[in-house]
Symmetry: C2
Subunit: 217 residues, 2 copies
DNA sequence: GTTTCACATGTAGCATGTTACTCACTTGGA
DNA sequence: TCCAAGTGAGTAACATGCTACATGTGAAAC
């Protein structure tokens, strides 16, 4: 059968299902502690069970979901030790990343410009209290910076780790109040990098991670 | 533990297929530049195409294989920039890892003992010129050490990065001659860690990665 | 009241049928 | 000889049928 309204849709269904479900998980549209079946998602997406199952298996491997045999799939609940594992990895990756970024010659000015633009939008979202938008822009801000290093595996990895931290299991509320404290921190980081001050950039990143861990404990 | 004694074998077929194909890839039993079909593996393993396809998709996500739409699957060819990405990540992860390892109190003596045992076997394999055995023990040696840190995500990640480096695309020969130069390096690393000398351990790890990158260029 | 057990329900898991695509090869015309 | 359209084999990709299993429920046995 034809592809409906899409002129050319060259992307596999399981990829599309993967993107959709992943977004839903991160946006919090999926209930924790609730079992979801392949059939449910297949019905929602209007495709058969096969590509949906494939997508779910990828998400399990990525650590966003867990699988209960013959029961269904559910959002992974992070424990405290999961969190420290993730934060520990982020320390190893993101601190050297911003250091290197601040030392690059020539400086990746286009990435800086884009990060600056994202920061502006970020502040806007913080003012409006638009939590989801804030999270999305926060993610893009950091991935833009890390991406300027040109290491695609690093960029992807950092993204995955950040995504995992959006999972429930740890208290995630009260962040609404932190929206405005986070803003200046982003700007300070960007400024330090643009000033080619690796030490300051690293220190900001480190304190950010420290505080994140403390907050979620 | 050993599933020989296990009465019922309750592991999903796609997991078993995943393990099997991954081993085959790393052991070099799979020809590079050759397209393999789901059907081929399914026939070899004596199962249907579904779990095999699921396994292959996981391996694609992991970066060991690539997928040619409507053509088949093949081993991923690493380019020079792939290699530098991987080495760069390994630097960020493995150097801090051995540093931390050397600073741990109490020291993880059981892991040290196991690493020492693996080192002995490693030397034995090097003497015999058993290349595959050497690679397998080398992998276990490093993962045992990293595993002692207790960060399961880190351990898994390091393992995946090392696996990717076993892929062809870069000259991998002449390593036979290096088998004996690698041996002492392993011992030096282990000794530095056991001596609680983070700086020395880090230096050894760093030079190892530098040399690895230079060799493969 | 408590335990046991048969059964109904819904699911993952696997097998298999079907479709549509890619590409090597052939064929025919200039 | 060259090139272009045609075609056929093989494949991923998707849909669907079927099986085994985990679990909740309720009646029967104690």
């Amino acid at each position: 059968m034809g592809n409906g309204t899409q002129l050319i849709r060259q992307e596999n269904l399981h990829i599309q299902a993967y993107e959709y479900i992943k977004s839903a998980v991160i946006a919090g549209e999926i209930e924790p502690d609730t079992l979801y079946s392949v059939h449910q998602f297949a019905t929602i997406l209007g495709v058969s069970r096969t590509p949906v199952r494939e997508a779910l298996l990828l998400l399990v491997q990525e650590g966003l979901l867990t699988m209960d045999r013959n029961r269904g799939f559910r959002i992974r609940q992070l424990t405290g030790s999961d969190l420290s594992e993730i934060i520990s990895l982020r320390r190893m990756l993101e601190i050297p990343a911003v250091e290197t970024l601040a030392s690059m010659t020539p400086a990746p000015v286009t990435a800086f410009a884009e990060a600056r633009m994202l920061y502006d939008k970020l502040q806007e979202a913080a003012d409006k209290g638009d939590f989801l938008q804030f999270l999305s822009l926060d993610r893009r801000f950091h991935l833009t910076l890390v991406g300027a290093l040109g290491n695609s595996r690093l960029t992807r990895l950092v993204g995955e780790l950040r995504d995992q931290m959006q999972l429930p299991g740890i208290r995630r509320l009260s962040i609404s109040g932190e929206l405005h404290t986070q803003g200046p921190e982003h700007l300070a980081l960007l400024t330090a990098i643009q000033d080619a001050d690796p030490g300051r950039a690293a220190a900001i990143m480190k304190s950010h991670l420290d505080r994140t861990q403390a907050d979620w404990a």
